[in-house]
């Protein structure tokens, strides 16, 4: 009997129907539940299906027909051959390493820079604090797509075009992240820091030992979005990088697509290499991804 009790929550919907309730504890009718799952599965096919089709294409061997009608959803004889070929065609692992470098640097600069500036805006008293806050708000409102040419000219003047440093710099401390950190610090009770101040803690001690540990959640959100933003970015690296040996993954994929457009298996393998790390990251840290949407949308 006890085994039955334990198994129950995992048996299919109809048998469990009386127990299924909504978020308010009310029962949901069977037909409604069935309809919901049907719709959910439909949307699932639409959102995840394309990724699976790409994965399937990347695993199909050179002799397998990928254009058949009706389509063959699963590879008949799965092979990693295309992943070897993509590495022979473009230096895909170097590109992945470049993307990793850019994304990691972006995480470090955004976390450190935004935490410092956010703390200065929220907690410290000095002349010009309002002007500094205004500068960050204005910077947040500037549409980046409209200033790329001027950013590129600036990079040229600094001699940083066609370098990974040039890819990272413009977004290395984003105004949105600074304002997110500012809000996080403003939401902390001031009394603890005041007490530390009275006890003689200096500004660095108050920042590092008291304030920063209390906003770890927001730092995590900033880190994740900085990583994703840099890893996924396309327009800016496309403009600043011209030498194929310095490409990041997204630019490399565009290059692969432009040069070997007719080899769908190859492009499919490349896209899977680019997307797999982020899907893995998302699977592990979903909570922070969702939290970031809330905070970013409200402030952005």
């Amino acid at each position: 009997m006890s085994v039955m009790e334990k198994v129950r929550p995992t048996v299919p919907a109809p048998a469990r129907e009386p127990r299924v309730t909504d978020e308010h504890g009310r029962r949901i009718r069977v037909w409604e539940l069935a309809l919901r799952y049907l719709l959910l599965l439909g949307v699932l096919a639409l959102t995840v299906g394309p990724f699976l089709w790409q994965l399937s294409t990347s695993l199909k061997g050179p002799t397998e027909d990928i254009f058949s009608s009706p389509p063959k959803l699963l590879p008949g004889d799965p092979t990693l051959h295309n992943y070897e070929r993509v590495a022979d065609t473009i230096p895909v692992w170097d590109y992945a390493l470049n993307s990793l470098k850019v994304a990691t640097a972006n995480v470090v600069t955004n976390c450190v820079g935004a935490a410092l500036a956010g703390y200065a805006l929220a907690r410290l008293r000095y002349r010009g604090r309002r002007a500094a806050t205004l500068a960050f708000i204005l910077a947040m409102l500037v549409p980046v797509e409209g200033i790329i040419i001027a950013q590129f000219t600036t990079m040229r003047e600094l001699g940083l075009n066609n370098t990974l440093v040039g890819v990272v710099l413009p977004g290395s401390i984003s105004a949105l992240n600074v304002l997110l950190m500012r809000n996080a610090f403003l939401n902390l009770p001031y009394e603890i820091e005041e007490a530390a101040y009275v006890d003689g803690a200096n500004v660095w001690q108050r920042f590092l030992r008291i304030a920063l540990p209390s906003v770890k959640g927001t730092v995590a959100v900033v880190a994740i979005f900085a990583f994703m933003g840099a890893w996924d970015d396309f327009l800016w690296p496309l403009i600043v990088l011209s030498d194929p040996s310095r490409f990041t993954l997204t630019i490399g994929l565009n290059y692969l697509h432009g040069t070997f457009a007719n080899d769908e298996r190859l492009v499919a393998a490349g896209t899977i290499i680019a997307v797999a790390p982020l899907i893995a990251l998302f699977a592990c840290l979903q909570r922070y991804f969702f939290r970031g949407v809330g905070e970013g949308a409200v402030k952005g």
Partner: protein, 297 residues
Amino acid sequence: MALPTASRVRRQLPTSPWLFAAPGLLIIGAFILYPFVSTVVNAFTDRRTLIPGEFVGLDNFRELLNDDMFWIGLRNSTLYVLGVVPALVILPLLLALLVQKNIPGITFFRSAFYTPVVASIVVVGLIWVWLLDERGLVNSLLETIGVGRVGFLSDQWLLLLSAMAVTVWKGLGYYMIVYLAALANVPRELHEAAAVDGAGAVRRFLTVTVPAVRSTMVLVGALSSVAAFKVFSEVYLMAGPSGGPAGEDTTLVMLVQRTGTGLTGRVGYASAISVVVFVVTVALMLLVLRADRRDES
């Protein structure tokens, strides 16, 4: 002991706040605010990538009026807003209602629906280029059910429509999460009262849910319209760098990128197009916010 430390704190205060804010101010100053100002200034010059150029007044803007490619770009970016925004305001709300109830496995579905948001636009674009290919999956399915093959990526209008669909597909999960947070704040009593009054599901959606999440709908409308007007990657990847057949699918930001980069890039002219992008972006924001205020009164 207390006195010397207190004075030490005071001594540190005047300099350290600026030390804290300096890296951030330096970066946004040098790479956001300065380029913004220089874009506006350059718009009135004939600057090129390797030539500093001179002040030419409104020449660039006069040239824009007679540039067919500019009008094509403005048309396509505007159509993009008109096509994408209604879909991104309504569909994610319906999706949020679908995943709102805590039925078994729902967290899996929520996460799965968010996957396209996590993927790079390049990955998403290339996945759909292959799906919508003349010989791709969608056309294979269409042929199997007897509709025949459709040239999604060869016809000028179908291309633009396909790119819009991809933008909506990628944005669904993001705005779904935004709406979920808003829906969590809708009081359940409202729904129950409406149900007691005999209102059906559709009626309850229109009279209870929509008014309750209206401000979120405005936010989504504002965010998505600004993003849609600045569209670049989807169209660049699906139509190609030259913007589809005869460049007819070029968007404004694609035109900025094409005009302003390279050794012969016309920085001044590209900046003038950018200024148009700024102006329309601000106008879109004001329009959405104003529509919001009018609704309220």
